[in-house]
């Protein structure tokens, strides 16, 4: 058998690139996709804004201080999800062994695809070309015989590039990289490694693992990775653990009625994503952040499992009423936990689709053609109008 060939594909500044694609006036300009201008966090930063030091997950306040001239746009998750579907369809045309890591990132095991499509580097070039031509977005790729090296290679190839690390080069490639680049090395482990005088991956690789083990937990695994050994296979269709939607409000809201339309909008989004994925949820979780930044989560088990947004909304509101009587709320989020796939055992008496099922199917078809905002409940729409008026 040929050596494994794994490609890690990662979209460049994914949300920001989608915005620049759809709004030509943003191209070449520093773009930040983020929640609320003063209160949210950076969801994506275009390459034009990165020299200012703006990074994903940074607070919007800090990002705007670093790059006051950046254009801030609110996220459009439906657009990102649509682009993601197109990208994953391109992956699927190359190999069935696709392990999604997020909307815009995946491992592909192309070991068995080389006879059909040529060497791995040619496959990666072809995937990036198709994404550029068909989806209109830049992507980077890393190619290696093991997963974590492929991921490091794509990082170093960014933006809009690709890099292949041959099996014989892995040692030399890893050696000069700092230890924190290894999977599983956080600030604590990094400090412990530094204390032992180990600063690069090469330092770890050349040590006796027993020596490190005495000081650092999990050292054996780190040492193995540092050798360029990563036995983890590409696992296709790794099931998501939860599906959620959340939102930081423009101003703190007080009381159930004020947050009601927001929670409804979040619940409906989660419902639609569950149905798209063909799964249901057994547990609804409500997340609430108060004006003092304290955070609570409350959850409720559902019987039977559901993919209906209105059901999620009702349960989330019940949880809210119990958990947050009349406090100022900064953020809410609704998520579906304990996801269940379709039952393998088929039923003898297929129940006729219920009214909510039929309604959701109709709404999903409308959303597919005209976008997720084409039909929304009246109070969600009214709330959005009020928000728009506030913004102007």
């Amino acid at each position: 058998m040929a050596a494994a060939a794994i490609i890690h594909v990662d979209m460049d500044a994914f949300y920001a690139s989608v915005e620049q694609r759809d709004h030509p006036e943003l191209r070449g300009r520093p773009v930040i996709v983020g929640g609320h201008p003063t209160r949210g966090v950076v969801l994506a930063a275009s390459y034009e804004v990165r020299p200012f030091g703006v990074r994903s997950a940074m607070s919007m306040v800090q990002a705007r201080r670093l790059a006051p001239n950046a254009v801030v746009v609110p996220p459009r998750f439906d657009a990102y999800s649509a682009a993601s579907n197109e990208i994953f369809a391109i992956f699927a045309a190359v190999t069935p062994l696709v392990e999604p890591l997020s909307l815009d990132e995946a491992f592909l095991d192309v070991t068995g695809s080389t006879t059909l499509f040529g060497p791995p580097s040619a496959i990666a070039t072809n995937i990036r070309r198709r994404i550029a031509e068909e989806v209109g977005l830049p992507a980077s790729a890393g190619i290696a015989s093991v997963k974590f090296v492929a991921k490091m290679a794509s990082d170093l190839a960014k933006p809009n590039g690709q890099r292949e690390i041959a099996a014989s080069e892995i040692g030399a490639f890893l050696a000069p990289l700092p230890v924190h680049r290894l999977w599983g090395v956080g600030p604590k482990t990094e400090a412990a490694l530094h204390a032992l005088g180990l600063r690069t991956i090469g330092d770890i690789a050349s040590q006796d693992p027993k020596r490190i083990e005495r000081h650092v937990s999990g050292a054996r695994d780190l040492w193995t990775l540092a050798q360029g050994i990563d036995p983890r296979p590409v696992v296709p269709d790794r099931a998501a653990k939860s599906i959620g939607a959340e939102e930081t409000f423009g101003e703190d809201l007080r009381g159930a009625d004020a947050v009601r339309p927001h929670i409804q909008g979040q619940a409906l989004r989660v419902g639609r994503r569950l149905r798209q994925a063909g799964i249901k949820t057994r547990v609804v979780q409500l997340k609430v952040k108060f004006d003092d930044f304290s955070l609570i989560t409350r959850q409720q088990t559902l019987e039977p499992p559901t993919d209906d947004g209105q059901t999620l909304y009702r349960v989330a509101m019940e949880l809210l009423t119990v958990a947050a009587p009349n406090k100022k709320i900064r953020l809410t989020g609704v998520s579906a936990q304990a996801l269940t796939g379709p039952q393998p055992q088929l039923a003898l008496f297929a129940p006729p689709p219920s009214r909510p099922d039929r309604l959701n199917a109709a709404l999903d078809r409308i959303a597919e053609r005209f976008g997720g905002d084409a039909v929304v409940p009246a109070d969600v729409r009214n709330q959005r109008r009020r928000d728009d008026a506030d913004d102007s």
């Binding site: 379709p342 393998p344 055992q345 088929l346 039923a347 003898l348 008496f349």
Partner: protein, 367 residues
């Protein structure tokens, strides 16, 4: 209350009562058996969980009229362990039961007879004399596929249909269905089927266990009544609507094969050892002259067995829950069985090859 009774007679009544008395009920008295004198030569031994009631009228020598109730489980254990042949039972103050036999003596806390729920009247029911072994056979051919999901009332029982000459029992848990038909001359003429809850069917089987002589059955005021000599059983019928079962029995499955029942059963038992214990998923593959059975378990390994069968149709592979096949084949008495398949998502039928009126419908699994 004061009477003497043969130990084995009393034991027979207590055995049935202890199976019905409900220890988990919110009504403590339902864990008790009711004992009451009935004239000079008989006593009543009864228990109910409000769905099923058993009433045994047993021969006894009554000294003094009266009744009491006492915990069924302990009373049964006490009487079972007695060494004497006769039991002397007496009520003392505060409804205590005095039990004496040989040199043993028990005093057991009881509760007042008048606090016990009213038992259904069975004497007015119009009864029909039917063959007990036939009834028992029909029960064991259907009870295993009754739904255990108490929230699905309409599937949690056996449907009984009878026209006075022939009778049918049908059960389904929503994934598979069993249907058996037998001649039952003299049976009740029912306009529509009655749905007997699972627990009631289990108790009917206990009452009729091993019985060769006929029993009597009848339907009265929403109850199914069975009488076997001095024991009467009344089961409150379920008001759930049993699904239209005829619609899910395929009429034209065209991929059929005949196979020796025992050979298939044994192969399924062997291969299913490797199936997942959660789903019991196995794959049946049909190809010219061959039936293959495969189990593939990522955590355990795999197994495969091939049987020679007379099959000439197109090749097809269908996933099934092996347990559904095993339970059904175990109940089939014939030497050979016929398996009728349509497609990988369509219900399959298994029936005895000797023409007996019995079949099982099994929905496939996605594997």
């Amino acid at each position: 209350m004061d009477f003497k009774i043969d130990k084995n007679q009393l034991l027979r009544g207590l055995y049935l009562a202890a199976g019905i008395a409900d220890r988990k009920s919110t009504m403590p008295i339902l864990a008790n058996v009711l004992i009451r004198t009935d004239g000079k030569d008989r006593i009543l031994c009864a228990a109910t969980d409000l769905t099923v009631a058993v009433m045994a009228t047993l021969p006894a020598k009554v000294e003094k009229d009266g009744g009491l109730t006492v915990t069924a489980r302990q009373f049964f254990e006490i009487v079972k362990g007695l060494s004497g042949e006769e039991v002397h039972l007496r009520r003392s103050e505060q409804n205590w039961a005095d039990i004496r036999s040989g040199r043993a003596e028990f005093k057991v806390v009881g509760m007042a007879e008048r606090d016990y729920p009213k038992l259904p009247a069975v004497s007015e029911a119009e009864m029909f004399k039917v063959d007990s072994p036939t009834l028992l056979d029909m029960i064991s051919k259907t009870i295993f596929s009754v739904s255990l999901d108490e929230t699905r009332q309409h599937l949690a029982g056996v449907l009984f249909e009878s026209d006075g000459n022939e009778a049918r029992m049908i059960s389904t848990d929503g994934h598979r269905l069993s249907k058996v038909g037998r001649k039952l001359p003299g049976g009740p003429k029912l306009a529509a089927g009655v749905l007997i809850p699972r627990k009631g069917v289990v108790e009917i089987r206990r009452v009729l266990e091993g019985r060769q002589t006929p029993c009597e059955v009848g339907v009265q005021q929403g109850h199914f009544v069975v009488r076997a000599d001095d024991v009467a059983l009344s089961v409150k019928l379920s008001d759930g609507q049993f699904p239209p079962y005829d619609q899910v029995i395929p009429k034209d499955n065209d991929r059929t094969l005949t196979v020796e029942r025992n050979e298939l059963l044994e192969a399924l038992r062997r291969v299913s050892i490797m199936a997942s214990d959660k789903t019991w998923g196995i794959r049946l593959g049909l190809d010219k002259g061959k039936l293959s059975i495969e189990a593939d378990n990522p955590d355990l390994g795999n197994a495969r067995e091939k049987l020679d069968v007379a099959y000439k149709g197109v090749a097809v592979q269908v996933g099934f829950n092996a347990r559904y096949f095993i339970e059904l084949l175990t109940e089939m008495g014939s030497r050979e069985v016929r398996v009728e398949i349509a497609g990988e998502l369509d219900p399959a039928i298994i029936r005895p090859a000797d023409g007996t009126d019995y079949l099982g419908v099994i929905m496939p699994m996605r594997l």
